[in-house]
Symmetry: D2
Subunit: 137 residues, 4 copies
């Protein structure tokens, strides 16, 4: 299993009137997690784009376990979830660095769209197949 | 089954560099859907607050079916999902009004937190039990 | 002077941990104001785009006069500010509909970029000159 | 003059359908700049809060000089602007690290609100007067 980690300071603008991070912002933290994963393992968004694909999110899930307050920092652990289909799947664990608690877990699924035609690619693209082989996933 | 509908014009700021609505913004559309539902059926956030509770989202899911572009409008259908536990559950259907397509579906689950102690309320609050009875859900 | 008005309900996600609308969100309200103005006076973003131009914001200002809380609605008044140069300028007044107070005022300036070359258009585009004549501004 | 610097990677969600960072997101970059300044010079938001004050933004300005694209990083330089009144003022310079260009400049002004009464503090708070003296501003 391959995974990456990134630490994020909470922005004041990410809180809401309950005084905690607004639930929808976790999708931004997951995005930060994917970016960090991409940099570490050579699967950056722009590299995929250069291979001819957009990789939009088609499914996402968040389970909130505990609130996060302004002034706290979080760590996002992003784990690659192997799949035989032409998809990119991740699981996320968000840890409140101040309390040590897991504050959220989540999942995303991405597909490959041809960047010119915007049609769905049903076959695993060659570059991705090679990337999987290199990373043994 | 009780449900409400609301139409939303896409903000330019809600699009991303793929030219479509950024996936995370659907949680804002679901929020707009809940607001509309609350207004229609008397379950507004501030009314719940007056009864002594916060109702944070503890779980959310989005399935994207088709992209939405700037210049298009969407309709969010918000359906109440009955449950015996002390929770508020909704299902959402987002329809692209320009194309007629369902562009996303989703779910959210909310719990009741005592607004003073921020502890989880495990028993269905009285006002909510009465609301459910009145609405036969 | 030509102007338009639009009413907006505050989204919970637009509040911050001070319990009020986060200051940066007023730029979204100004955007809503411009959209409403565009619809009313035939100067929609996509119409301008069809004439060959992007019109990015190059300058914006916000003066906050009073806070806005969740549960309140605002009205954005968008006034066109005439200019001889190849620019689109607006002034905004945001009124808290619940209290009657002016809660913010602001300004934006947009320029014309050729949508293919992304170079700045220094001469007022024909379609815009005609639009100004028609609207006597 | 005292100033701080922070580098920020652009989030995909911060771009818009023009393919560049949406103009309103610069207020988030300014916020990141203030946070970095606060950490460096001991003027953190939560420290101010502990002294009894909220410090909301009452005025902000952004001048955009050049676009920033996804995949690029920016540097925000935050300069403290001395004032005799009970205010906190900053100037910002956003540099595109990929091109070396200044892509935006801006300003913000904050006031002191008593955190209990939410009334405006017209006299410079003691802790802030001492902070200014220590930092010779």
């Amino acid at each position: 299993m391959i995974a990456s980690e990134i630490e994020i300071d909470i922005r004041f603008s990410e809180t809401d009137a309950m005084g905690v991070v607004w639930h929808g912002n976790y999708l931004k933290f997951f995005e930060d997690g994917r970016e960090a994963f991409g940099k570490t393992f050579g699967l950056e968004y722009l590299k995929i784009f250069d291979h001819g694909y957009f990789t939009p999110i088609v499914k996402s899930e968040i389970d909130h376990k505990a609130p996060v307050y302004y002034g706290q920092a979080i760590k996002v652990i992003t784990r690659y979830v192997p799949t035989k289909s032409a998809k990119i799947q991740f699981e996320y664990e968000v840890v409140n660095q101040t309390t040590g608690e897991v504050c959220a877990i989540g999942k995303t699924m991405q597909v490959f769209l041809d960047k010119e035609t915007r049609t769905l690619e049903l076959i695993t693209p060659d570059f991705y197949r090679e990337w999987k082989k290199r990373n043994q996933v």
